[in-house]
Structure formats: C-alpha cells, structure tokens
C-alpha cells in the first residue's frame, strides 16, 4: 500500500480552464476515508430580472491562495479527522451553468466532511480576495458577498 496517500493534503488551484468535478473528487479520495463531500458553485443566468450573459472573475492570486490555505488550516483544527481538502476556483470568463468553484473534503465518516465543506465555502466568501463581475446585456456589475467580513463594519 502506498503510505503517502495517508498524509493529509490541501489541493488549492486557481485556473482559467473549465473545472472538473471528477478531477477534484479524485484528489481527495483516500483508502482511509468513507466519505467525500463536494460543493459546486455554478453561475446563474439571472439577477434581479436582468439576464446574465456570463461572469468574469479576477483574484489577488498570491493572497487568495494563502487565505485558502488558512481556511484549510482552520478546517483541520475544527475537524481533526478530515483527510484531504481540495479547493479549485476558476478565474476569467465563466459561462452560465459552468462551475466557478469546486470544494471537496474527505474524512473517515460523513459528518466531518459535510460540515467542513460548508465551512470552506462560507469562509471563502467572507475572506478570500476574489472578485466577480456579472455581465448583463447592456451593463455590468461588480458583485459583493454579504459575507464579506468588512462589508458593514466601516459604515
């Protein structure tokens, strides 16, 4: 048996190519785990009655990766049995219905990976420096997550 599969790993990637659910799940699958939980964030085609043509994402890449690493570290503190964590986020143009983010977590039993995935996406939305622009038919809009941790503190 390949013992290196048992060392917990974080797989973090920001990329402009289409994300793959198969690829992300396979990263976290491990012989010691009975559960893999997944979150996929996909792009909706409408916002407040306006038709969304596509989304564009940009990132402060180096800091986004380090903030995601912090999230992984927090996950491992809160749920020590978590094995592998994968966070893939797409940058650039994302067409409607395609995935902008995929998060996968493996653990021996299902409760930890389910909770950890939820924590990852909620915390990502609050603290990772990535920005989304919604492109409509005749205008665009920079979105703001309500989770953004400073959003209300400076008013």
């Amino acid at each position: 048996m390949d013992e290196s599969e048992d060392v917990p790993k974080d797989f973090i990637k920001l990329k402009s190519e289409k994300l793959s659910v198969d690829e992300v799940s396979e990263l976290v699958i491990s012989p010691c785990c009975g559960a893999v939980s997944l979150f996929i964030g996909t792009t909706r085609n409408n916002f407040e009655g306006k038709k969304v043509i596509h989304l564009e994402y940009e990132a402060y890449t180096a800091m986004a990766e380090s903030e995601i690493k912090k999230i992984c570290r927090d996950v491992r503190q809160k749920w020590p049995s978590v094995q592998h964590i994968a966070v893939h986020h797409r940058l650039g143009v994302v067409p409607i219905t395609e995935a902008s983010v995929i998060i996968a977590v493996s653990s021996p039993h299902r409760a930890e990976s389910l909770e950890a995935v939820m924590y990852c996406i909620n915390t990502l939305k609050a603290s990772v420096p990535i920005w989304k622009k919604e492109i409509y038919e005749d205008e665009y809009s920079w979105k703001e997550n309500k989770e953004c941790f400073w959003a209300n503190s400076e008013k």
């Binding site: 964030g41 990132a59 402060y60 986020h89 939305k125 990772v128 959003a151």
Partner: protein, 83 residues
Amino acid sequence: QVSVLYFARSAELAGLRCETLWVPRQVTALQLWEEIVKVHPRLAVIRDQVVFAVRQEYVLLGDQLLVLQPGDEVAIIPPISGG
C-alpha cells in the same frame, strides 16, 4: 517606496492595476489611503467599502500604524465576491 495593486472596481477607477508609490515609512492606514487618493481622486467614492492588504494581510482603513519596508506590497481590496 511600495508597490500598490488595484483590483476590480478600484482598478477601473484608478485606471491601472499596479504602480510604485513613494510613501512615508510609518503611516496610518487612513493616511496611506489619503496619499493614494491624491494620485487617483476617482477612488474617493469607494472609501467606505475598501480595505487594504499590506504584505497580504488585511488592514481596515483606520488609525492602525503601518510600518512599511521598501518593496512592500499594498493592495486596494474592494468588497469581495468569490465562490
């Protein structure tokens, strides 16, 4: 002398993504903001929405004293929308 990075709406208002600026070595976050707005007055409209990232750590626009080294990276961070 620090590198200032602009993202999202702040890059659109400033008209650029990065530049080098001369700033005092010791400065509060708010003072640093004022220095940047002198160079790019259009940024003033987002003052209540942004934070800084100094050496990739978040800093609110307030009285916190920043000790800057030459070549440090300072980023303007508008409200985020990842995920």
